[in-house]
């Protein structure tokens, strides 16, 4: 499902997804409509814009994460933002999305993020007001074969 109040952004995102072989079942311009569908239909991936007039992306994702026993409560979520207002940075961190991507981003980066959230196996934590993927990341080196595409690419570029 792709949710964006800008029709052109919706076209751009669905165009890139179509290239990847992903055909969104729902392309929605309003947060309220997205919420209605998310209550009724299974959704495999939610790509949602942060800034929307009625229910914005943060509110939609916060609602989704707390909408259990709705199976979509654990659906991978990528939020896209052209700009995040300073007063809303905390909301971006706390809404429960798997990833927040700020523009500009290329089709390659979008694909990378989709693959990343597909493999995101972090447990969901419920702590105070927060419900979403564990936000703590390990910063020490992984002791094993590197299989993450972005890390392999980074290392290849370092050696080039």
């Amino acid at each position: 499902m792709v949710v964006d109040d800008s029709p052109f952004s919706l076209t751009l995102t669905t165009g890139a997804l179509a290239g990847f072989g992903i055909r969104p079942t729902f392309t929605v311009g309003r947060g309220a409509e997205a919420r209605r569908i998310l209550q009724e239909k299974p959704v495999d991936l939610l790509l949602v814009d942060t800034d929307m007039p009625d229910i914005d992306g943060f509110e939609l994702v916060r609602w989704l994460r707390r909408s259990g026993p709705n199976p979509n409560a654990f659906t991978p979520v990528i939020m896209t933002a052209s700009h995040i207002r300073r007063g809303r940075v905390t909301e971006a961190r706390d809404c429960g999305a798997n990833f927040v991507v700020t523009k500009p981003f290329s089709a390659a980066m979008l694909l990378e993020r989709i693959l990343w959230v597909a493999r995101d196996s972090r447990p969901f934590l419920e702590v105070g007001d927060y419900l979403g993927p564990d936000r703590r990341f390990r910063h020490d080196d992984y002791d094993g074969e590197e299989r993450r595409a972005d890390m392999i690419r980074k290392k290849t570029m370092e050696f080039a």
Binding site: S6, F8, S9, T11, L12, G15, A16, L17, A18, G19, F20, G21, P42, D44, L45, D51, F74, T75, P76, S82, H83, R85, R86, G87, K103, P104, F105, S106, A107, A108, L110, L111, I114, L115, V117, A118, R119, S121, R122, P123, F124, L125, E126, V127, G128, P133
Partner: protein, 162 residues
């Protein structure tokens, strides 16, 4: 504080990604690029339209908060439309303007000449021919000037890399 841990099951997205078949990453990206290239003219028209809105004279007696929100929306739309087409300087300029408008006092007092300078810079960036001689230097100079404006007017804000 109580922490409840919900162990995640493998998502349907992960199952789909792991299913055999489909297209290679190279093919997927080439197809996506072809689809997006077909939208570039429309994107450039939207960018020009929003730069035009930023340069237009405001409606008389428009409340400051509304004027700020309209300019913020126009600048955001420039970022939205420019995002997939590697127009990074344009996005940086529009982001800088969004930062400034976001930090502006809602009751009035924003120096609107800054918005005009940003919009004119965006117009110029859009008009520069990529491979023409002097283009790279002109881009660097424009971005350095905008970065300077941002540093002066918003010293505490995280600066977008130029």
């Amino acid at each position: 504080m109580t922490v409840i841990t919900h162990v995640q099951r493998k998502s349907r997205l992960a199952e789909m990604v792991d299913r055999p078949g489909g297209v290679s990453v190279g093919v997927a990206l080439a197809q996506a690029k072809a689809n997006l290239d077909g939208l570039k003219d429309q994107a450039l028209a939207i960018i020009s339209e929003n730069i035009g809105a930023l340069l237009a004279h405001p409606t008389p007696d428009i409340p400051e908060a509304l004027r700020l929100d309209s300019a913020y929306a126009a600048s955001s739309q420039v970022i939205d439309a420019a995002s997939p087409f590697a127009l990074d300087d344009l996005c940086t300029a529009a982001k800088g303007l969004c930062d400034l408008l976001d930090a502006a006092p809602r009751q009035g007092g924003f120096d609107w000449r800054i918005a005009t300078v940003h919009a004119q810079a965006m117009k110029l960036l859009l008009s520069l021919t990529p491979d023409a001689p002097g283009t790279a230097e002109a881009r660097i100079a424009i971005m350095a000037n905008l970065s300077e404006v941002l540093k002066r007017k918003l010293p505490t804000a995280p600066q977008s890399p130029v």
